[in-house]
C-alpha cells in the first residue's frame, strides 16, 4: 500500500485487507535535493572507498605493547606478528586497538552531542531553528552528506543521533573477541567511526550555536568576531575567580547568565581551560581563556580558582584531590565524570553553598546547569574572601630549600613523558641560575608524573612554576572567539583558488597540547602558513596555545592576520566539536563551488576532496582518543593529517609509498583512462619528529592532482622554501611534483630545470625551456581525477 502522507486524503472504503497502525507521523521531506546513493551508511556501505584508501595509504603499525590481555585466554604474546589464542594477529589486534580508540573518541563527541540536545530541548524546546544567517545556506554539510537530512530545528538531530548511536554499538560489537580478524576491516571500521565522529561533532556544535545564538553569519559573526583575553596573566585574581574546565558549555553558560542577571559581570572573573573556555567566550562576553589543557594542573595548583566547575572530557582524574590541596571547592556537572561526589542536584542551593564554603563538602555533583550558575557564583564570592590569605606559589626560601634538596637521581626524568632533565635544572638553580628551570615550564605538559617518583618529595611542578612565575604572570595573549561555520559566500570566493591551487592550502591546527617542545611550535606553524597565504583554521587547544606568543610588534597571530576564510586568514573556528566546520568547508568547496550533489553522497564528495582540496590537519600535540577519531574522520573524507612525535604512540599511521608506482593510479573521469600520478597527498597520517620537519611536510601534503600549473608552482615554491629554511636542503622528492616547466617556481625556474637535468636525468629542451622527458605525467588542464569508476562520464573507446 502507498505510504499515507500527513495531510493526504484517502477514502476509507477503498481500503481492503489493510491494517492501519499509527506511529510517528512522517512529515514529507521537502525535496531539496535528490537522495544520493549512500544515506546513513552502515558498516559495510563505504568499505570499497575505505579499501581504496587503505591500498594507497597502507596501515602502518608500531605497537606500544606487544601483548593482549583483553580476555581470559590471555595474556597473549603477539611479538613478531604472532597470533593470540583467539587467532588474532598482532597487526589485526592493533587495528582493533585503533578502532577502540576511535570508539572512545567518537563516543565522547557524540555522547556530548546527545547530552547537549537533551539539555537544549529542555531549556529552549525542540523547535529552535537552525538558521545561521544570510551567508550560510548549507547549514549542516555533514548531516546532509552522511544522513541525507536537512535539519530545520534542533529536534531533527534526534534522528541523526539515533543513527550514530546504532552505528557505534554495531562497531563496538566488532571489537569483541572472536569477531573481526582482518586489520584492513578493522581500519575500515575505524574510518567509519571517524566519519560518525565528525558527524557527531557537527551535530553538537550546530545544536549549541542554534540554541545559544553563538556567532554565525549574523552581524558581528564570522570574520568579525571579537578578540578575547587568553593566558594565565590575564586573569584578575583580585576578583573572585570561577574556573570552568571541560567541553560541555551549558553549566558555564548558566554561570555567565547568573552573573549578568545579578549585575556581577565586573565583580567576578569567569575563566576557563580547554574547549569549555572557548565555548564560554561564544556565549558570555566577559569570559577569559586561562589556558589550554597542558596548563590545567598548574593553573589549579597556582590557586587561581576560588571555585572549579568541571563538565566533561580532558578533566584530570585527580581533580578533586588537586582542588582540595588549594582549597578550591569543586562542582561537577556531568554524570559522565562525578568523581565520587554526592549528587546534590535537588538540594537547596544555599545549603550547598554553605557546605562548600565551610569545607564540609570538598565538592558536589549538580546536574542542573541553572543550579550550577547560582551555586558557583554564590560560592565563589564567599570563597574569595576565605582564600585571600593563601600563599600557593612557593616562597623564595621554600624554592631554595627544594632545589638544594634534589639529589639529581634522575627518577623524575625517567617518569617524564618528555624526558625533561629536572635534576640538572635544579642543580643550576642552586648556583643561582634559574633559567633552565623556568624554561621547563612551557616544555612541561603538566602531567605530574615526576612528583610521584621523587624520593625527596619535591613538589616539582610548583618548583618549576616558581622559577617561571615572572614569565607566567606575563602570559597574556589575544584570540578570536570561535566563529563556527565558514560562510557559503566565503567558499564561493575561494573555491576556485583552492581547487586550482593558487591558495596553496587550508591548514587546520587542531587538538590537544601534548607537544614535544612547548606551545611555541603551535604559534610557529600558524605564523608560517598564514604569512604564506594559506588559510589557517584552528580549533581546540592548539587555537589557544597559538595565541600565547607574539611577534616583534607584540601582536598575536590573531591580531596580525584577518579572520576571513581567505588567503592569509587565521580563523578560530571554535572548540573541538567545531572542527566539523573544517570538514564542512572542504565539503562545501565540492558542493557549492563544484556543484557536486551532497545529499547521501559521501563517497563522491570524499573522492573530490582527496583529489582537489589541498587541506591538511595538524594535531601537533594530539593526545586523546578524540584526537584519534578526529584524525580518522578527516582521513576518510580525504584530508591528511600530520601529528607530532607523541602521535607515533597512536600505533597506526596511514603512509603512502611513492616508490610503488602502481599505488598511484587515478582515473580520468572524462574518458575512463587510467593515469599514473604524483603522490598528492602522499600520506593520510604521518608523524614528524620536530616542528622544523613538520613545516615542509605540511606543505607537501597540500599537493593535489587537480592543481593547475600556476597553483602547483605556488605550492612547490612553499614546499621547497620551507625545506630550505628549516632543513637547509632541497626536499629529496620535489621533482615528483613537477609535471611541466610551468609547474616550476618562476623565480628559480632555470636553476630547477638544471637540477632536474643533472640530478634526475630529465631531458630538457633548453631553447624552449621545456621538459621533454622525466615527469610521472604531463600537465593536462582538463584532467578530471577520480578514484571511482562509476563517475566515468564516457567510457574510453
Amino acid at each position: 500500500m502507498e505510504e499515507l502522507k500527513k495531510g493526504g486524503i484517502f477514502n476509507i472504503s477503498d481500503l481492503r485487507n489493510v491494517r492501519i497502525s499509527i506511529g510517528e507521523i512522517v512529515e514529507e521531506e521537502e525535496e531539496w535535493e535528490p537522495m544520493g546513493p549512500h544515506p546513513m551508511p552502515g558498516i559495510a556501505t563505504l568499505r570499497n572507498w575505505d579499501f581504496m584508501l587503505l591500498n594507497r595509504y597502507k596501515p602502518f603499525y608500531a605497537p606500544l605493547c606487544d601483548m593482549c590481555c583483553l580476555c581470559t585466554y590471555g595474556k597473549c604474546d603477539l611479538t613478531g606478528n604472532k597470533k593470540g589464542a583467539c587467532g588474532i594477529r598482532m597487526d589485526a589486534q592493533h587495528g582493533r586497538i585503533v578502532l577502540l580508540a576511535c570508539l572512545v573518541g567518537c563516543s565522547a563527541h557524540c555522547g556530548h552531542g546527545r547530552h547537549m540536545l537533551h539539555e537544549m530541548i529542555k531549556k529552549f524546546g525542540g523547535d529552535v531553528p537552525i538558521d545561521f544567517g544570510p551567508e550560510v545556506d548549507v547549514e549542516a554539510p555533514l548531516t546532509r552528506l552522511v544522513c541525507g537530512i536537512k535539519p530545520k530545528t534542533i529536534r531533527d538531530y534526534e534522528k541523526v543521533f539515533d543513527y550514530i548511536e546504532e552505528q557505534i554499538v554495531q562497531l563496538a560489537d566488532a571489537l569483541h573477541t572472536g569477531q573481526e580478524g582482518s586489520y584492513r576491516d578493522f581500519e575500515s571500521k575505524a574510518l567509519h567511526m571517524g566519519m560518525l565522529d565528525s558527524l557527531g561533532k557537527e551535530a553538537a556544535d550546530i545544536i549549541q550555536i542554534a540554541s545559544y545564538g553563538m556567532p554565525t553569519s549574523y552581524e558581528g559573526g564570522g570574520p568579525d568576531v571579537p578578540l578575547v583575553d587568553v593566558g594565565i596573566g590575564t586573569i584578575d585574581t583580585t576578583k573572585p575567580v570561577v574556573l570552568v574546565i571541560g567541553h560541555n558549555v551549558p553549566p558555564a553558560a548558566d554561570i555567565g547568565d547568573y552573573l549578568t542577571e545579578n549585575g556581577l559581570e565586573d565583580r567576578v572573573e569567569l575563566a576557563g581551560i580547554c574547549c569549555t573556555s572557548i565555548d564560554t567566550t561564544r556565549v558570555y562576553k566577559k569570559a577569559k581563556i586561562a589556558a589550554a589543557l597542558g596548563r590545567q594542573l598548574r593553573v589549579i595548583r597556582m590557586g587561581i580558582a576560588d571555585v572549579v566547575v568541571v563538565d566533561e572530557q580532558c578533566i584530570r582524574a585527580d581533580i578533586l584531590e588537586l582542588c582540595q590541596r588549594v582549597h578550591s571547592p569543586l562542582i561537577v556537572t556531568n554524570d559522565k565524570a562525578m568523581h565520587g561526589l554526592v549528587d546534590r542536584t535537588d538540594d537547596n542551593p544555599d545549603k550547598i553553598v554553605d557546605d562548600l564554603v565551610s569545607g564540609r563538602a570538598p565538592g558536589v555533583v549538580i546536574l542542573d546547569p541553572e543550579q550550577v550558575g547560582e551555586v558557583a557564583v554564590k560560592t565563589v564570592i564567599q570563597m574569595d574572601k576565605k582564600r585571600k590569605g593563601l600563599k600557593l606559589i612557593l616562597s623564595d626560601e621554600e624554592f631554595k630549600y627544594y632545589v638544594n634538596d634534589c639529589i639529581q637521581c634522575g627518577n623524575c626524568t625517567l617518569a617524564c613523558p618528555n624526558g625533561l632533565r629536572i635534576g640538572e635544572a635544579n642543580q643550576s638553580a642552586t648556583s643561582g641560575d634559574i633559567k633552565p628551570l623556568a624554561g621547563l615550564f612551557d616544555l612541561c605538559v603538566g602531567c605530574g608524573r615526576c612528583e610521584q617518583v621523587c624520593k625527596k618529595h619535591i613538589p616539582i611542578v610548583d618548583v618549576i612554576t616558581k622559577a617561571a612565575y615572572p614569565q607566567v604572570k606575563e602570559e597574556k595573549g589575544r584570540m578570536r572567539i570561535g566563529r563556527g561555520p565558514v560562510w557559503d559566500s566565503e567558499i564561493r570566493d575561494v573555491g576556485a583558488p583552492i581547487v586550482l591551487g593558487t591558495i596553496p592550502g587550508i591548514i587546520a591546527p587542531i587538538g590537544c597540547g601534548n607537544y614535544p617542545n612547548g606551545t611555541k611550535d603551535a604559534w610557529l606553524i600558524v605564523k608560517e602558513f598564514a604569512e604564506r597565504n594559506y588559510i589557517v583554521t584552528l580549533t581546540g587547544c592548539m587555537a589557544i596555545d597559538a595565541a600565547l606568543w607574539k611577534d616583534e610588534e607584540g601582536k598575536t597571530v590573531y591580531e596580525q592576520h584577518h579572520g576571513r576564510f581567505d588567503a592569509g586568514g587565521v580563523l578560530n573556528i571554535g572548540s573541538c566539536v567545531s572542527n566539523a566546520h573544517i570538514h564542512d568547508a572542504a565539503i562545501k568547496v565540492a558542493s557549492i563551488f563544484a556543484g557536486r550533489p551532497l545529499r547521501g553522497n559521501y563517497e563522491e564528495i570524499a573522492d573530490y576532496i582527496l583529489s582537489r582540496v589541498g587541506a591538511c590537519g595538524v594535531a601537533w600535540g594530539a593526545m586523546s582518543q578524540k584526537a584519534a577519531s578526529i584524525a580518522t574522520g578527516f582521513n576518510r573524507l580525504g584530508i591528511p593529517a600530520v601529528v607530532g612525535p607523541h602521535g607515533a604512540k597512536y600505533r597506526r599511521a596511514f603512509l603512502g609509498r611513492p616508490d610503488l608506482k602502481d599505488d598511484w593510479k587515478l582515473i580520468d573521469a572524462t574518458d575512463g583512462s587510467e593515469i599514473y600520478f604524483e603522490p598528492g597527498p602522499q600520506h593520510l597520517l604521518v608523524a614528524c619528529e620536530t616542528v622544523e620537519e613538520a613545516l615542509p611536510m605540511i606543505a607537501k601534503l597540500c599537493f593535489r592532482p587537480s592543481d593547475t600549473d600556476r597553483g602547483r608552482s605556488i605550492k612547490l615554491t612553499h614546499y621547497i622554501d620551507l625545506s630550505l629554511k628549516y632543513l637547509n636542503a632541497y626536499p629529496p622528492d620535489w621533482h615528483l611534483f613537477v609535471r611541466t616547466a610551468t609547474d616550476l617556481p618562476i623565480a628559480n625556474k632555470n636553476e630547477l630545470l638544471k637540477k632536474l637535468e643533472d640530478e634526475h636525468d630529465w631531458e630538457i629542451d633548453w631553447k624552449m625551456k621545456r621538459i621533454k622527458e622525466g615527469p610521472i605525467r604531463g600537465y593536462d588542464p582538463s584532467f578530471n581525477p577520480t578514484n571511482l569508476r562509476r563517475l566515468i562520464r564516457e567510457k574510453k573507446k
Partner: protein, 178 residues
C-alpha cells in the same frame, strides 16, 4: 650485560626486551652486517660531537638516513656523501617491506642503528621493526643515552653528568667498526 629500566619507565613492551650491550659488541655487529643503516634524528644536533660521530660512521661506509631536521647539520658540515633526508615514519614503513630498494637502490637493510631520535618516537619505530620486519629479519639497535627495550640491543640510561663517558662509548663504537 643485564637488565635496565626503560628510559621512559613504563615503556615495557612485553616478553622480548632488548639487551644492554657494550659499544664494541654493537660495533662488531655493524662490521659484520651486509647492509647496515644509520638512522639519525634531531637530537644529534645538540652537540657537534654527535654529528661528527655520525659523519665518522658515514665515512666508514655506513649510509645515513637523516630524519627529523638532522639533515641541517650534515649540510652545514658539508657532508652529504651518503646521507639522505627521510621522515622516520616513511623510512620505517619502507624498512618493514622486504622489497624496498633502499636509499641507494640496492635493496633493504639487515642492521639498523638508531642515533639521536626523540626517545618515544624512536621506541615506536623500533617496535615496528621488531614486530614486523621479521622475514628477513632486520636487527635494530640504539646507541643513544637511553635504554631502549624495543631495540634488539641498546646502551643503558646515561645521566647528564656521565656525558663524557657516553662520548667515550661512542668513540669506542666508531673505532670498533671495521
Amino acid at each position: 650485560m643485564g637488565m635496565e629500566i626503560p628510559f621512559d619507565v613504563a615503556n615495557i613492551p612485553g616478553p622480548e626486551m632488548g639487551e644492554v650491550a657494550p659499544p664494541e659488541v654493537i660495533g662488531s655487529y655493524i662490521s659484520s652486517a651486509k647492509r647496515p643503516l644509520l638512522v639519525v634524528g634531531s637530537e644529534i644536533l645538540r652537540d657537534d660531537f654527535f654529528l661528527e660521530t655520525a659523519i665518522e660512521m658515514g665515512r666508514k661506509g655506513v649510509p645515513i638516513a637523516a630524519t627529523g631536521h638532522s639533515i641541517r647539520g650534515f649540510v652545514e658540515k658539508e657532508y652529504t656523501e651518503n646521507v639522505s633526508y627521510y621522515n622516520l615514519h616513511e623510512l620505517t614503513n619502507c624498512l618493514r617491506d622486504p622489497g624496498w630498494k633502499g636509499l641507494d637502490g640496492k635493496g633493504n637493510y639487515d642492521f639498523v642503528i638508531f642515533f639521536g631520535v626523540v626517545y618515544y618516537y624512536a621506541s615506536q619505530m623500533l617496535s615496528c621493526i621488531k614486530n614486523f620486519a621479521i622475514d628477513p629479519l632486520i636487527r635494530a639497535v640504539s646507541i643513544d643515552r637511553y635504554y631502549h627495550p624495543q631495540a634488539r640491543m641498546s646502551f643503558m640510561n646515561i645521566s647528564p653528568e656521565m656525558e663524557e663517558g657516553y662520548k667515550d662509548m661512542l668513540n669506542r663504537l666508531v673505532s670498533s667498526i671495521k
